[in-house]
């Protein structure tokens, strides 16, 4: 049933919104790195964006059913890559997250696993529709996501590992989990989290400190408490209108930690105020609504699952990152999609959008 694909069906509105955010991101990266040794990162970001756009267009012409058909290979490769990281990964700041590839490229498999999990979860739950989920179905789903997640957790990379959870939850939700099951799972999850917390095996002490210090930053003024404190000062001191681009004292004075990646939203809030921050959140809102619309118009359930997987990851990252910046969430090291500097994050987002584009372009295919 091969049909003609037209770029007229491409979601130009979505692309426009995404590019608008990308421009804001590049500007803020420029501002945040202006007086640091990272000056010029905005240019690198532009290169990543270009690459992302190419990847997006490339993937948008690949039928998503094809992706779904071959995802088990990709999944297998992902597990192997994560194994490779565990064995031969480059150790940076005590965590093995990268594999050094020939040519000096650092490859971080955990970001790609996210994309593959979206496809895998879509395939798994699409095949289960038509009947209520059994406990067996649910546990298989858990295993599907849980295996790579534990491996990433082991690196340790708590932030990326956590982003796998919304993919699974989204699949379960759309796949037809029943209230009773959800309640039981919720309870079990709470117990598991509690157990993991107190067992001391899963989380390292610094991770725990990071997770708790947002409640009271002054308890840990040297570590992540300091980061949160500086972030709150940055955001709060921005006021309604902000201090102006490149004028944020917290950002420019290097008080705000990593203001071009994880805390880029704090830097943005400081320099552009409440008005700017709400504008950015509005853009996110439109992007997400547009994505949900695409999920809704998808030609089949697998398309819906795919798009909603992307939505789940995006809203999770936005909520956790912005939540962290404004002191509502712990410091987890999750970048803000389409804003934070970084090749892996940019490529993931754009490739995910490429899949969404393909789902949309295929919406009349039946």
């Amino acid at each position: 049933m091969r049909r003609f694909l037209s770029f007229r069906d491409f979601d130009w509105v979505l692309l426009g919104l995404v590019l608008l955010l990308s421009v804001i991101s590049v500007a803020e990266i420029y501002s945040a790195t202006l007086h640091t040794k990272f000056v010029g990162f905005h240019k690198t970001q532009i290169i990543w964006l270009m690459a992302g756009l190419v990847g997006m267009f490339g993937l948008s012409v690949v039928n998503y059913h094809r992706l779904i058909d071959y995802v088990h290979y990709a999944y297998g490769v992902s597990i192997l890559a994560l194994l490779a990281v565990m064995v031969a990964g480059t150790k940076v700041l005590g965590a093995r997250r990268w594999i050094k590839l020939p040519g000096g490229i650092h490859f971080q498999p955990s970001e790609w696993v996210k994309l593959i999990l979206i496809v895998a979860v879509a395939r798994y739950f699409t095949n289960l529709t038509g009947r209520d989920l059994t406990w067996g179905d649910i546990f298989k789903g858990f295993a599907l996501v849980g295996l790579p997640m534990l491996m990433v957790l082991k690196q340790p990379d708590l932030g990326t590992a956590l982003t796998y959870i919304p993919i699974l939850l989204c699949g379960l939700f759309l796949g037809g989990i029943r209230w009773k099951q959800a309640a039981i799972l919720g309870l079990a999850g709470a117990i598991a989290v509690g157990g993991a917390w107190y067992s001391g095996k899963v989380l390292k002490p610094y991770q725990k400190a990071r997770l708790t210090s947002f409640v009271n930053p002054d308890n840990d003024p040297k570590g992540s408490g300091y980061q949160i404190r500086q972030s709150l000062i940055a955001v709060g001191s921005g006021g309604i209108w902000g201090k102006g681009a490149t004028k944020g004292t917290q950002t420019q004075g290097d008080f705000l930690p990593i203001p071009y990646t994880d805390f880029i939203f704090a830097a943005f809030c400081e320099e552009h105020g409440f008005v700017g921050a709400v504008a950015v959140l509005l853009i996110y809102f439109f992007i997400l609504m547009r994505l949900i619309q695409n999920a809704q118009t998808a030609a089949d359930l697998s398309g819906t699952f795919l798009v909603m997987g992307v939505v789940a990851v995006l809203i999770f990252q936005i909520a956790v990152n912005v939540g962290m910046v404004v002191g509502l969430m712990p410091v987890t090291g999750i970048p803000l999609p389409l804003m934070s500097y970084g090749g892996s994050s940019v490529l993931f987002t754009f490739l995910a959008l490429g899949m969404v584009m393909n789902v949309r372009m295929n919406r009349f295919v039946n």
């Binding site: 500086q230 709060g236 004292t249 809030c269």
Partner: protein
Amino acid sequence: MVYLDNLNRDEKLPLMKLAVAQYVIVALLLVLVSGLWRLQVLGAQNYRALAEQNRVRKVPILAPRGRLFDREGRVLVDNYPSVSCFLVREQGRDMTADLPLIARGLHMEVEQLESILRRYRTAPIYQPLPLKQDLSPDEQAFIEAHLNELPELETIDEQRRLYPRDNFAAHLIGYVGEVSEDMLNDSKYAYYMPGDVVGKSGVEETYDQILRGRDGSRDVVVDSHGREVGRLGKEPAVGGQNLKLTIDNDIQRAAELALGDRNGAIIALDPRTGEVLAMVSHPSFDPNAFAIRIHRGEWNKLITDPDHPLMNKAIQAQLAPGSTFKIIMATAGLEEGIAQTLHVNCTGGASFYGRYFKCWIPHGGHGSTAITKAIYQSCDVFFYTLAERLGIGKISKWAHLLGLGQKTGIDLPGEVAGVMPSEEWKLKNYHEKWYAGETISVGIGQGAVAATPVQLARAIGGIASGGVLKRPHILMLGEVPNEYRPALLENFAGSGDQIVPLDPVNWEIITDAMSQVPNPEGTAPSAHLEGIDFAGKTGSAQVVSNAAKSRLGGGKALRDNAWFVGVTPRRNPEIVVSTLMEGGEHGKLAGRVAAMVIEAYVNKQRKQENNLLEAKQPPAPVEVGAVWSETPSVAGVTTPLGGGHFFLPPGSGQSPLPGKSAASVAMRLP
């Protein structure tokens, strides 16, 4: 519900679920917006202040302290440029790891640094902590070389105190030191900040507020590493006011030399004004040792030394005045009309109230003695008798009028009041009745009487001035800004300026008798100054007062203290010198010391007059080896030594209050 196959779309279930997803997203975004609202709209002001606190650091600019000059404008205390090191603490940064390196570079102990951190742990975080003062060049180089590793170190240029060498005038100048924690906690000193250098003794303490000036500050923009990235405003420091003291360096030097290594004190005043010309207390200390933080061992040595080097004995030693008190007795006796007609036959002692009181010449005694001889021979029996006749009430009244038992109000910290006993005093302090026998001892300046050198200088200088007593002071009149005057008078309350009406006849009797003291028939012939109208009174006090004894710590061998209070000229003197020599045995030794100061003063005056005369006419050629006294006489001046008022023929005295009877001026000066 039936699903046909995977590709068959059933839109209803997903649609509903997608709507749920939309609501979840909206809810999450609203939570985030509310978080932003809380910070950026509600908390903006607070966070803006925190951001400013983050980035702006106040770097103090220290005001140079005012310099001190002697009465002729010669520098007594100067400043020299120096560099201090401060530690800038920062929110969220732990310094402990850097301490060993800092300690090594600044030649300090890690424990020292830790104790500084501990001491100031409650101080606001933005306040820099003083680490070390007066850095050596290599310590400065160390900080310079570690700007990046140790951004918390900050150097500040400042002006440090440079005091005269050889402990010169140490007690009257005092010293400065870092403000103590006690002072910081005292609301009276709210304007002091940690690390401030403040006056802690002497003139430095009294006039600290005038001398210290006002520190300025520079607002610098720093990044999170404390590196200076920009500058904002600057508030310049206002230097402290220079002060001119009444001290005369020459007289001060003469007094230091005269006292030499002996323990005791000298104070020289101009009784006409109360200006202190010289003030020495021995043993002494080096104020320069305090300018940088004093070494603990050195400090302990100073405070445990039984000779009390930190004590300014000129105003803090309250001891029995001994026979110097007889001048006060004579004044009382004459003014009460008793002494004029009193004649005793001194046989080396006499009995009063059933107890035998010895004269200081126990064998033979002074024979027939009236007031004049009683003064220059210091006859105890005469004054025992006079005391008996006067009674403690009148003695006490006159002694109080002349300022005993009260502070003089000299503008130096720590002056003590001494003791002038009376019936009420005894009742109040001992809850006992006064025994008439005690009055006899008081008559010769023993018993409970205790006086300080400055009190005696003021009292006897005042008597020699015909009853005009001045507040001794160390700062030139007019140097004190008007707004400080009330506080100064309040903080240094004392007898101050006072007129005690004296009959000119009595005045002459006393001063003439005093002029006999440094003569062969007097008690201090060795203090004789040829060609100078020198008058005075010796004193050899047998015991220290009980109060002083306990304060001094009894263990010391309590030899007699020697006193001498001398003036020149004998009436309306220009200078009064009060000398105390602890364990000096006899007043004539103190007399010799006082004479040296007087001589230095007179010589200086004559030299100046001579120079003035020389300036009026072409200078005569001076041969090598010639001395000034050999210059030929000048018209109008009989000798080069000249017609000086120091040669005062007896009986030429004028009342200082011409045309008025003494009684009519019995009022306090305003």
